[in-house]
């Protein structure tokens, strides 16, 4: 990585050397930055060759994955033609989508054949975001009562599927075909980072799987414009646009808004109220709810999320990351929420490994795990009045 022909990869190697510490047990008390680059994987992981050789039995476990991640990063910068980034159009009514795994999905969605495993890793890294949402919401979802979905979960997704798969109205483009259209399904993505800067045609894949319904994607989070501020300068805050939202109309059936703001601030103003479980859904892509660095911020947001009674879909980078989030929710609001989707591995996780610059030994896959919860709904119960 530090002898890479690509300048951005050399910068990345330098960044790893600046931030990462040697994982050798000798450094338990005296951490030292990494200097030595393993010749097999090309990622700087140890402070010296001696420590690398001494700890080789641990390094060999991740060496192949590191090398794969390194090669994939170089592949993206190679400037080759990427036939896998051509996406198909709308799904035919007659053709059903098979959500069993990536391969059956790509085949039934009429993608071009992705034969090379590397191409598959690149394309799943992007598609994992919309497809993870679709695999939960779609009526052909792989998650059902026999597989991770709970009774409460079925109630929530049935409400959304009622909106997403409406009966045909007979509407058309001429005067005779004018029908009243339902409002769009709003998907709020809180703490948006990488997902808000995905190519819009990747997000547009979501509408192709639900051709009759409309979507409004709302990216909310202080980092939702990171790396894109030059391309999309945030508008000034005016009376008509009090939060400086950027609104993009991707197509007639999809609108994308971006808010550089914490969700609890927006919720307090009632911008998005009222919430309707038939139309609204929250998605948190690797939020790090229980991560010591971000838990404090989520603590303000969580009660607001539970208050809406809308399903919240959460993903995690790794099994540990996901379990930490689940435990944190259990700690903070035990008994106040219903589990909708039992935590487990995501069928549409990214197949590409991602290297954490601050710790190269901590490899992760985007959206590795997926689970879902919702604020508990208290049904009206009858209380027998005592006879006087």
């Amino acid at each position: 990585m530090d002898k890479s022909p690509s300048p951005s990869m050399r910068e990345r190697a330098a960044a790893i050397k600046r931030t990462a510490y040697c994982p050798h047990p000798d450094h338990a008390s005296s951490p030292q930055h990494v200097k030595f680059t393993c010749s097999d994987c090309g990622v700087p992981t140890y402070c010296s060759e001696d420590h690398w050789a001494a700890d080789y039995e641990n390094h060999i476990l991740i060496c192949d994955a590191l090398r794969e991640a390194n090669e994939d990063d170089h592949d993206l910068r190679s400037g080759r033609f990427f036939p896998e980034f051509e996406y198909p159009g709308e799904q035919m009514d007659e053709a059903l989508i098979n959500f069993t795994n990536w391969d059956t999905f790509l085949y039934t969605r009429d993608f071009r054949a992705v034969n090379d495993p590397r191409s598959l890793r690149q394309v799943t890294r992007l598609l994992t975001y919309p497809i993870t949402i679709a695999s939960f919401l779609h009526e052909l979802s792989p998650y059902n009562l026999r597989h991770r979905l709970t009774i409460e979960g079925l109630k929530s997704v049935s409400a959304l599927r009622y909106t997403l798969h409406p009966p045909k109205t007979g509407g058309g483009k001429d005067m005779k075909g004018i029908r009243i259209t339902p409002p769009p399904v709003r998907i709020f993505m809180l703490g948006a980072r990488a997902e808000s800067s995905l190519p819009r045609e990747v997000w547009h894949q979501l509408t192709h799987m639900f051709p009759i319904s409309t979507f409004h994607l709302v990216f909310i989070g202080p980092e939702s414009l990171d790396g894109r501020s030059s391309e999309l300068p945030a508008p000034d805050r005016t009376d008509s646009n009090p939060f400086g939202a950027i609104v993009e109309r991707v197509s007639h059936n999809m609108k994308i808004s971006t808010f550089v703001e914490h969700y609890h601030t927006l919720h307090a103003t009632g911008t998005f109220a009222p919430f309707d479980p038939y139309f609204d859904c929250f998605v948190l892509f690797h939020p790090g709810l229980g991560h010591p660095g971000s838990a404090a911020e989520w603590e303000n947001t969580l009660p607001k999320l539970l208050e809406t009674k809308c399903p919240v879909l959460v993903t995690g980078y790794t099994e540990n990351d996901m379990e930490r989030d689940v435990n944190w929710i259990n700690d903070k609001c035990k008994g106040e929420f219903d589990m909708l989707l039992e935590p487990g591995e995501n069928r549409f996780k990214s197949l590409r490994w991602d290297i954490n610059d601050a710790d190269p030994t901590d490899l992760s896959q985007g959206n590795w795990g997926v689970w879902s919860f919702r604020g508990k709904r208290y049904e009206a119960t009858r209380k027998d009045v005592e006879e006087v």
Binding site: N101, T104, L106, A113, V114
Partner: protein
Amino acid sequence: MIPTRRLLGPVAPRSSYYQSDYTQGPSLIRARKPFLVKNLLTGAAILALTGSIYLYTIKAVAQDNFEDVTVPDAPTQPAKTPNVGTSTITSGPLGK
């Protein structure tokens, strides 16, 4: 050896899931993998059903040994017919 099919090139634009010699590409093989065992089992079950019906029919037909048909011991003699063979006319103008 290059298959002749590959030299001739594609006849018409077709699915990218097949290679130029009309064999399945790796992505199609991967997509069919979860269903391979189940499909083979279903195919075997259908084959077994048709095969068993066929064999049963053959066996059932072969069992018919025509017990109900009475076969006479000697071939039956045809009834005596007049005006055939040596003259048996004994009366009338032709009679001797």
